[in-house]
Symmetry: C2
Subunit: 381 residues, 2 copies
């Protein structure tokens, strides 16, 4: 397949959006991305979203966004993988352009979910026949993993609390972050409200709205649209057993490992060469287990990287550099595209106060369910 | 991009399925397709479905199906375009294999929607902010088009009734059709219950369940898996204005035209070379307008092809050769994949009593909303 690059990005601040509709949010970032690439049209639009079926009574999101953005006529499809939907749309855009079938493709993620009780909707990423009847949710399943982690490895009580502290610190310099005005200590995390033991409020990513878009072009013509195109070196998807109870070891995120290995093979790099990692820190335990699955730490020791300051610039691996899911916010279907926008800013030296010095290679990971679907992209300049 | 072929198919009879769950139906056709290609694994699975969010509380269909089919670990994503979702999944499989990124891909469509009141769910393919508040549904919008058609062209009252008659006749020889035991006259259609004037019961495709799967491989190795691979000559998507009231002429299906033109260019054929057309006859009026948009008939005369026997073997263009959406049934998210399975049977001379003699080229068209998203594939041997 031919090499593919990102030549334009568009994002709006993550927040609770009351004054715009889903389609307006999406059309706005499409316009920003087109402006960024000095384009007025693309050939295809791949949309991502998780909750519009119920939240907006909308099952035809891609065509709706294309129409609202004035792009009538073009190809428009929606791609999904629960919470990993944003990365799924990015992958389809990558395949379409890479195949030579589509010249310019736009991946746009959008979610408007605040102002409603969405936990039962998010739980539809789990097994509705086996798990939902027992009241399982994404929160309860992550709580289960956190419980097992503490039982097996007996780390200090504040072990996982470092992850949200780091994310919130990073978000303070990102103008598009939901929480750009907060600062927490690990004590704050441990004193925050208990949500589903042992998970506390500050272990969880927030319910919020957002939209983001990226434009992909063949690398060979990328400089026509961008002075600083960012190249997509790899795109890989892997799945795990659907229910965590069916897995050999619930604390080993096999799909994180598999998709990252495949992506590193495609990009012909080692994990050690990655300059920054935008991981799926929807819950503190997910952040920790991801570092372990990726090989940055031995099982049971991922939190030590956080506690010892190894996750900031100059450390082993800078993570959630613009706030991550925890503090930039996690507008589900848009999250994977926000990650891509942020990686582009980092790799082109435009990340402002969040800038990771000499960032050359970014790994993005997006997770659907409890690491059931994992999508990894590697970007580089 | 490298050429891609279909090397295996699997389908179950369309009916009201009470004794199997969504995932079981999907896993069954995955297994049938794998058997057909003498494979025990593929590299990626692209799933299509429209209504599981509400019907099965399931938003993570692709990973669920991969798990149930014993394919844990592989890439699994869902692709959507409302009622055109099946064709959307086929397109993603085509792009993935064509790009060289994926070697063997499976497209699987599944829908379990009978036994519930799904009209409001299907209406989520329309504009929820502007159209749904006025009670619009897919039925009412198609009724509107039919009304305008009769007002503008004043055809005889039974003009559109020939379409369901033909579909039901064809379905009688298809063992996988929902209605393989019925036969109707145009008088039956005109006497059937009025649903949404002027649409009558027999103008509408039925509510039913089904699943179908196809396996795609690079053409250069297709004969390893199939003695009679079927080649995908083209895959194209186009959209129209989202609301029919925004269109220049509601009786001109622009996206049907655009996507078919793009597909014919890709395949380097003319519409006249197509041996059979699996079109989206969800309503009689949609069948008629499709023939006109494709250029088989002048505006206002599409029904004459049906009335004069030109839509059967030996006619201008055989349509709905195994019953179409009307009589094979329209299990929404699976329909596009059923069309692909049926085209493979036709092109390889395995269509039994439905066989179109000397079928060489098949055009498949799948429609989301009221021809808002249209996906065209061209298959050939």
């Amino acid at each position: 397949m031919r090499p593919v690059s990102i030549v334009g990005i568009g994002q709006i601040p993550v927040k609770k959006v009351y004054d715009k509709s889903l389609r307006q949010m999406a059309a706005e970032v499409v316009e920003l991305a087109l402006e960024d690439a000095a384009l007025d049209r693309v050939d295809a639009l791949y949309a991502s979203n998780m909750l519009a079926d119920e939240m907006q009574c909308q099952k035809h999101v891609a065509a709706l966004v294309a129409d609202e953005a004035g792009l009538t006529g073009i190809e428009a499809l929606q791609v999904r993988a629960a919470m990993a939907s944003g990365a799924a749309a990015l992958r389809m855009a990558y395949l379409a352009v890479g195949s030579g079938t589509v010249e310019l493709a736009l991946a746009v993620g959008v979610e408007q979910m605040s102002g409603s009780y969405v936990t039962p909707l998010l739980a539809k990423a789990l097994d509705a026949e086996v798990e939902l009847p027992h009241g399982e949710t994404l929160v309860s399943q992550n709580a289960h993993l956190m419980q097992v982690y503490f039982e097996r490895y007996a780390p200090p009580p504040d072990a996982l609390a470092y992850f949200p502290v780091i994310a919130h610190e990073n978000a303070r310099q990102n103008p598009n972050a939901l929480f750009s005005d907060r600062q927490f200590t690990t004590a704050d995390v441990l004193e925050s409200r208990l949500i589903s033991a042992p998970i506390r409020l500050l272990d969880c990513s927030p319910i919020c709205d957002g939209a983001a878009a990226v434009i992909l072009a063949p690398t060979e013509v990328a400089r026509r649209f961008s002075a600083r195109p960012v190249h997509i070196l790899a795109s890989a998807v892997a799945t795990d057993r659907f229910r965590i109870t069916d897995r050999r070891d619930p604390l080993v995120l096999e799909a994180v490992k598999l998709s990252a290995e495949a992506a590193c093979r495609q990009a012909d790099i080692k994990v050690a060469q990655v300059s920054l990692l935008e991981f799926h820190d929807a819950f503190s335990i997910m952040a920790c287990l991801t570092l372990e699955a990726l090989g940055y730490a031995e099982p049971g020791t991922g939190w030590q990287l956080a506690a010892s300051g190894q996750l900031g610039p100059g450390g082993v691996i800078p993570v959630a550099t613009m706030g991550g899911l925890k503090a930039r916010g996690h507008p589900i279907g848009a999250t994977g595209i926000y990650q891509a926008c942020e990686a582009v800013l980092q790799l082109t030296g435009q990340a402002g106060g969040c800038q990771v010095p000499s960032a050359r290679v970014a790994m993005l990971q997006s997770v659907g369910g409890v690491a059931t679907t994992v999508i990894t992209h590697i970007l580089a300049v």
